[in-house]
Symmetry: C2
Subunit: 263 residues, 2 copies
């Protein structure tokens, strides 16, 4: 049996950290002296400690580490681990996108943005709606688009989306994905929605959605500079989507902000 200090030396985990893992139920000492509170570890706990160490290096939250450690079944453990590796992959993608976007932002001569005013009439579409966390948007978008495409026979134009502003302010909000079609069906999550007419300031965003906020910002500057004001949820139109071109740099999204004139 090993005292906490020896166990610390053997695992390269600090004494503080070992105590915290005990408290969290992650790595419970093989024995705790009732009288003194002294923790005793068994040498057989060293491999577990090292798995925890590796998972923490990968920024796996302690709660998830516990799930992995406690899963006795090798299969479910492997599944949990590969879940997290997939999460790391996704994070890496986001990091790459942020680097690309940062370079563009620091580019000394930026591409000027073209903004167009457009009056959009009332239209009835097939839509799917939900309240979504912004970090779950990617998955929701893919699923909803697939369901819409399966439910709609005749498409009369590109798909679009309507995004509540609180989504961007608070990370969660009402979103709607829609496809224009005659006589929209009502099947599964798909149902008809009538979009009200609006006047939009429209700019086209080229590239992956990760840096759409840059176009949002430029659009916002333009709106402010032209003495207009924003009212209501953002409308997006997907001109080129992953379905049509797998290369993210080819994607084209129209971003339309409902405006009214500040008289």
């Amino acid at each position: 049996m090993l005292a906490i200090g020896e166990f610390s030396r053997l695992t390269h985990l600090s004494v503080k950290t070992l105590r915290r893992y005990h408290e969290a139920g992650l790595l419970v000492p093989a024995a705790v002296d009732r009288a003194t509170g002294y923790r005793s570890y068994d040498a057989s706990q060293i491999p577990t400690a090292q798995v925890i160490h590796r998972l923490r290096e990968l920024d796996v939250p302690l709660a998830d580490v516990r799930r992995i450690i406690e899963s006795t079944d090798a299969g479910s453990r492997a599944a949990l681990v590969s879940d997290h590796l997939a999460r790391l992959e996704a994070e890496l993608d986001r990091t790459r996108a942020a680097v690309v976007s940062l370079r563009r932002l620091l580019d000394p001569d930026p591409v000027p943005l073209r903004v167009e005013l457009r009056a959009v009439p009332e239209v009835t579409v097939a839509a799917i709606e939900a309240d979504v966390d912004s970090d779950a948007m990617g998955a929701w978008y893919a699923g909803a688009l697939a369901e819409l495409e399966a439910a709609v026979d005749v498409r009369m134009g590109p798909a679009g989306g309507v995004y509540d502003n609180v989504l961007f302010e608070e990370g969660r909000g009402h979103v709607m994905l829609h496809v224009p079609t005659p006589d929209p069906p009502r099947r599964g999550r798909v149902h008809p929605v009538t979009l009200p007419p609006v006047e939009l300031a429209v700019a086209t965003h080229v590239g992956p959605h990760d840096d759409a906020d840059v176009t949002y910002g430029e659009l916002g500057s333009w709106v402010v500079a032209n003495a207009l004001a924003v009212s209501g949820p953002v409308r997006e139109t997907y001109l080129v989507t992953p379905t049509e071109d797998p290369d993210p740099s080819a994607w084209r999204t129209e971003i339309g902000w409902p405006i009214f004139r500040m008289s």
Copy 2:
């Protein structure tokens, strides 16, 4: 001029976060109403906000973000940014190493460790010593090894290291890198050191140093199982180093733990 809520919508930064950035001096509103405390932002601050957003996505600390934002010179700004990108690269390397090591740890049939007891006589070597943070170890090791190799003409064996145990417990400790040579010189940081004789439990670690702690743990288990105890700093011997083979999976390090018999 924009109220904080509008600015939030335009930049996709939450109101809370904007206030925090104001407090941190990162993004100071163009005007603050003396009487009410209301913050007003100018549309020209949107690009700055987006650069900050990107840098935070890359986990750049707020203090460093401030340095980047405040550097008016485009050259020094680019240098600061690429510093952080290099840091991200290094972190990515560590993540990759952790993934590899994790897979090995979860491997159902692990490679058994061979441990050898070895009596090491007193020896006088050319050495460089320092107190080092464990996250600065890599850089320190490379620099010290280069200086040692330049200072020593005749090498009588592979280089070695002596590592204080507190380095692993507290993340900082005394370390020594040494090369056996006749008549050790005294030049720059290099000076002669006489290493006392010890009895070592020795195991060979194959692969990059990132998962050396796994071998440490196995060695520790063996030492405990054989009713021995550890005393004194760890000794390492570098049999195959990056100098000899650039492939990390070919590196070989002997890890030796000074022991004494618990009679």
